[in-house]
């Protein structure tokens, strides 16, 4: 072996050693919990990572991330730990999947194939000695068209992705009161509402956000948003919903008398609020005042706006109310 070869091998080995040492050193000590949390989807939210979500589940999962980092696990090992429990879909950057690669590749191949066929068809037709019968020509053009259209139809769908979390919310509250909020994350709504704090038109978005917090069990944030709705010139429908749900939160925290006041105010704002009637009836039954709950529950059974599938539940509570009264 020549001196040059020895030198070359020495450099290569040294480079590999340095890279390897760097990778090992970075494996556990440098793992950033927020960076890991950003790669894990909150299982009970839409389009949010556990690092950005404030739900109890996301916070608990972030604690697990911290603990695993403390145990010396690498980012990849932590992601695998969660994927082993929730499945690979819990990762916002799932591992390479051949099916997914094929989905991306097929439209490109189809368009390229169609273009090639069209080119070939054009050449066949131009050739003076070619056997370009019109039937054959049509078939080639048809095939080319089918390939191009297939590629475009499926390809466009992949490029028109849902708006990524964190990108700007373009909906103007005053201009578009019917904006679809399903794809908007909690953090984005919070950001928009900060700018439109005093506009009553923002109440619709604020209520949507408050409902999400309410349903996620994040009651402190829900109450804060419901209170802001109440202080922002709400419509009777908005005020009644906010009061009714504040009542439920109070009741869940053992404040039955305060909850009752909220329910009465909710029904005062909108006598037809069936949700407030239902919440109030539950309170009355649990407070051994079933007789007072009976007319509320009977009204709910007669209310055509109440979905038929909850009638059984209302009837069960009505039976309890009657037996206790």
């Amino acid at each position: 072996m020549t001196a040059r070869k020895v030198l070359s091998w020495s450099f290569t080995l040294a480079a590999v050693a340095v890279l390897g040492w760097g990778m090992l050193a970075a494996s556990s000590a440098d793992v950033d919990p927020l960076a890991v949390g950003d790669k894990i989807a909150c299982p009970k939210c839409e389009g949010e990572s556990i690092a950005s979500s404030q739900t109890p589940t996301a916070r608990a999962m972030m604690e697990v991330v911290d603990e695993r980092i403390g145990e010396g696990l690498t980012e990849r090992e932590i992601l695998d730990w969660f994927a082993a429990r929730y499945g690979p879909d819990i990762l916002l950057e799932p591992p390479l999947d051949l099916g997914g690669v094929a989905l991306w590749a097929v439209p490109v191949v189809a368009v390229a194939g169609g273009a090639f066929l069209a080119f070939r068809a054009a050449r066949v037709r131009r050739r003076p000695d070619g056997p370009a019968s019109s039937g054959r020509y049509s078939l080639v053009v048809l095939g080319a068209g089918a390939l191009v259209l297939t590629g475009l139809a499926f390809g466009i769908g992949q490029f028109v992705q849902p708006r990524a979390p964190g990108s700007a919310v373009s909906g103007n509250l005053e201009i578009d009161p019917n904006q679809d909020l399903d794809g908007v994350t909690n953090a984005e709504m919070e950001a928009v509402l900060e700018q439109f704090a005093d506009i009553p038109e923002a109440n619709r978005m604020r209520l949507a956000l408050a409902r999400r917090y309410f349903e996620e069990g994040d009651y402190s944030r829900a109450v804060a948003q419901f209170q802001l709705v109440l202080g922002n010139d709400p419509t009777p429908v908005e005020a009644s919903e906010a009061l009714g749900r504040i009542g439920w939160i109070l009741f869940a925290n053992g404040e039955a008398s305060a909850a009752e006041v909220a329910y009465l105010q909710a029904l005062d704002a909108l006598a037809t609020n069936s949700e407030a009637k239902w919440f109030y009836a539950i309170l009355l039954v649990e407070e051994d005042r079933g007789a007072e709950a009976v007319p509320l529950l009977e009204a709910l059974l007669d209310d055509e706006s109440v979905p038929a599938e909850v009638d059984d539940e209302i009837e069960r509570l009505l039976e309890t109310a009657r037996s206790g009264s």
Binding site: P43, E215, G217, T320
Partner: protein, 188 residues
């Protein structure tokens, strides 16, 4: 010419197959990768009273572990089925464990006062949502079935009813793995 026609047909068929497969998966929450895995050893404190339960300790018994909360509407719907099933088996070879997940103790107790209890059902809390994370719970309710060897052999997502409960338990008693029953969970 014929080979080009076949190529077009082949590409369209393969792609349609991919799309159909993906569309089907989008309808339900993901399948649990835990089917076939041993249940994690962890202590769960009783909701009412002192003491803890460890799911891995019920060797020889089938364990039905149900994640629920008082704020979850489908949990109210399925609750009578659990009470009935727990009474039906009476602790004989089947242990029902209701895991109260992300809820307040007071609200959970009120729920049981309203919708009923079974003497043969163990009701425990899930401090810090750790059991929910260990089981990869996406929403409520979710029910996991653990065989006598401590292996997770089934999961039902969404509200369950008595016939499904009995069917899953019977399959496990007969030595088969019931596996997944997909459904819609309450997922805010």
């Amino acid at each position: 010419m014929r080979r080009w026609t076949w190529l077009v047909i082949g590409i369209v068929v393969v792609f349609a197959g991919f799309m159909a497969g993906r569309l089907d998966l989008a309808e339900t929450i993901p399948e649990s990768p835990l089917i076939g895995s041993p249940v994690t050893d962890m202590d769960l404190p009783f909701l009412e009273g002192p003491g803890t339960v460890t799911l891995a300790d019920f060797h020889g018994s089938i364990v039905v572990a149900n994640f629920w909360a008082s704020w979850c509407t489908p949990c109210r719907e399925e609750h009578p089925a659990f009470v009935a099933a727990a009474d039906l088996y009476g602790g004989d070879g089947v242990q029902f464990v209701a895991i109260n997940h992300e809820d307040t103790e007071a609200a959970a107790i009120r729920f049981l006062d309203t919708y009923g209890r079974s003497d043969h059902q163990l009701v425990v809390r899930d401090p810090g949502s750790r059991a929910g994370i260990e089981f990869g719970v996406f929403g409520l309710p979710e029910t996991f079935f653990i065989d006598g060897d401590g292996v997770i052999v089934g999961r039902v997502a969404g509200a369950i009813d008595l016939p499904i409960l009995v069917d899953f338990i019977t399959q496990i008693q007969q030595g088969t793995t019931p596996g997944e029953r997909p459904g819609t969970v309450y997922r805010p």
